[in-house]
């Protein structure tokens, strides 16, 4: 029987999630600004960002498999965050092409590992029964960490110089490692962490075959839901930002800042509630809510023109983001219960997320160039509506004890298939 998680471990995980989010904020928008200030051409910057993007797409499933194979999630998470910090340092010190390319690829792979590793530590620590509550806390601290990171790095970039951002990002590595040390190794059950069966000390080679897990019907349907959500959601904020820049000069920057920051605060506020509600009333109603909100947002963006109303509508983004941040690992942990392939499945759905998000901006950019932004928003709303239909018609409730879920892979089935 695994130990009950101590307060100390829970707190350690809270702050590890916080500081990981802080370090990761140092990448993203700051890289483009920094390389621009280092006289890089747009072509070269685009190349670095694309290579990083492709690496983080391709890295998802191998990273998931790696985390599943690991015996200590803490060591894996520690190495990944050190690699992230080191690439931040390298970016700040040597803004030359080979270093930047390697650093962005290393960061992309490390980022792919950190997500599943945190989910695995969470599951290993609290087990399936406490997972909703735990994931709510994770989402809250990640969101606060992103906010704190953006504030710290934005300020250092503005007040000191652009490269200072990366030294600040690397410095947050130290509290991240300290927080990780607070988590008691023996409280993180490695079998539970991978979605294995408790009390059945199965060796790793007895985990369900990879192909069977990925072809699991509910997992495929859920990956489809996530893909449609990202396809509809990812381009909305960039498109809105562009419109705000165009329509309002004095307030543009402040309004865009509100659009970016306030949804983060909403995520921090509502995530624990979403985690608890998903445990109590089930995952499906919340999933429907999360994706329906995107559809509503698209329609409102297409029909409103007052910048202040647009910003108000953008606040709905916080609800959708909170739902998907909490529910994605939660639903996957339900589906993979007893398979030992929790993190591989996270990587699989993570790939769907990445594909959806990158197609979204391309699609919305094309639509807004050729037909105007209202058409682009309506197209995104239509995709979200298709997502609502998919959840409504095909996605079963995955909460244990509900009959609709297609049966999880039992030990007997695993033996038969192997």
């Amino acid at each position: 029987m695994p130990l009950q998680p101590s307060r100390r471990s829970q707190r350690g995980l809270d702050w590890f999630v916080f500081f990981v989010a802080t370090v990761l904020t140092g990448f993203g928008p700051f890289v483009a600004v920094y390389l621009t200030s280092q006289h890089w051409t747009q072509l070269d910057i685009g190349l670095v960002l694309s290579i990083g993007g492709i690496a983080s797409l391709l890295g998802q499933m191998p990273s998931g498999a790696l985390v599943d194979a690991a015996r200590s999630e803490r060591v894996v998470a520690g190495l990944a965050i050190v690699a992230t910090g080191a690439s931040a340092l390298a970016l700040g010190l040597w803004p030359v092409s080979p270093v930047v390319q390697v650093a962005s690829v290393v960061q992309a792979f490390a980022g792919c590992i950190l997500g599943p590793a945190i989910a695995a530590i969470s599951l290993g620590l609290v087990g399936h029964d406490g997972m909703g509550e735990r994931l709510g806390r994770n989402a809250r601290f990640a969101s606060l960490g992103t906010g704190a990171g953006a504030a710290a790095m934005g300020a250092s970039g503005y007040l000191i110089e652009d490269r200072a951002v990366f030294f600040v990002a690397a410095a947050f590595l130290i509290p991240a490692l300290l927080a990780l040390r607070l988590i008691e190794e023996k409280e993180v059950d490695p079998e539970r962490a991978h979605g294995g069966v408790e009390g059945e000390p199965c060796l790793h080679h007895r985990a369900a075959p990879m192909a069977t897990v990925i072809r699991h019907r509910t997992l495929l349907i859920f990956a489809g839901c996530v893909l449609l959500f990202q396809l509809a959601n990812a381009a909305m904020l960039p498109l809105l930002g562009s419109i705000l820049t165009m329509r309002s000069s004095q307030w543009a920057t402040a309004l865009i800042a509100v659009c970016v920051i306030v949804p983060q605060l909403i995520v921090a506020l509502v995530s624990p509630w979403i985690g608890r509600s998903a445990q109590r009333i089930g995952r499906r109603p919340l999933l429907l809510l999360g994706i329906a909100v995107v559809s509503l947002r698209g329609i409102l963006f297409a029909s409103l023109s007052n910048p202040f109303l647009l910003v108000a509508v953008q606040l709905l983004d916080g609800i959708a983001a909170a739902v998907f941040t909490v529910l994605t690992p939660f639903i996957i942990s339900d589906i993979t219960r007893g398979t030992g392939r929790f993190n591989l499945s996270l990587g699989f759905v993570g790939t769907a997320t990445g594909i959806g998000a990158s197609l979204s901006t391309t699609l919305a950019g094309y639509a807004s160039d050729h037909f105007g932004s209202p058409v682009a928003f309506l197209a995104l709303a239509a995709i979200a509506t298709a997502g609502v239909a998919l959840v409504w018609s095909l996605m079963p409730e995955t909460r244990p004890g509900t009959a609709k879920l297609s049966p999880p892979l039992t030990s007997a089935e695993r033996i038969r298939q192997s």
Partner: protein, 169 residues
């Protein structure tokens, strides 16, 4: 894990050391390079191929010139107008426009906008970040169409800046 942290700190200190050393004897290197080019350019052989025009090295002090890519642009009232990310020339090589990355917050909502090169003013001295001023305000620039490859260029300028470029005369 502690070992890895130590290694990171060590690598960082190493990097600072090399950066300081490389700046020191730059002047000497430059001088020797100039001599070298002069030596190789002295014509010695008689060949049928026309000799290439003589290469002349000109040294400009870093106070007098600057690389404009990535520099910040301000409006005459001091508003932040973004950074220069590209420079556009016409068929004869005359600079026509600068592309600036305008507006936005944390990478959200920024637009690439082309402005007339003649509407930019370059201050000769002062801190590098404040040397470029654009004669337009944020309000005038905000709605400009975005600069995109393969599209006709729409560049913003002022009445004074709209003088025909020397090449088109």
């Amino acid at each position: 894990m502690r070992h890895i942290t130590c290694t990171a700190v060590f690598v960082a200190s190493l990097a600072f050391g090399t950066a300081a050393a490389s700046a020191a004897d730059y002047r000497e290197k430059l001088a020797s390079w100039l001599q070298l080019t002069q030596a190789t350019e002295t014509p010695g052989e008689e060949t049928a191929v026309p000799a290439p025009s003589e290469a002349i090295a000109t040294v400009l002090d870093e106070q007098d010139v600057m690389s404009v890519l990535g520099l910040r642009v301000r409006s005459s009232t001091g508003e932040d107008m973004g950074r220069i990310i590209n420079v556009v020339v016409d068929g004869t090589g005359h600079v026509r426009a600068a592309v600036i990355d305008f507006g936005g917050f944390l990478g959200v909502g920024n637009r690439k906008i082309a402005v007339d090169w003649n509407a930019l003013h370059f201050a000769p001295a002062g801190s590098k970040d404040d040397r470029i001023t654009l004669e337009l305000t944020r309000d005038q620039v905000k709605a400009a169409p975005e600069y995109k490859d393969g599209r006709p260029l729409v560049m913003l300028g002022t009445a004074e800046s709209l003088q025909p470029s020397p090449s088109s005369e």
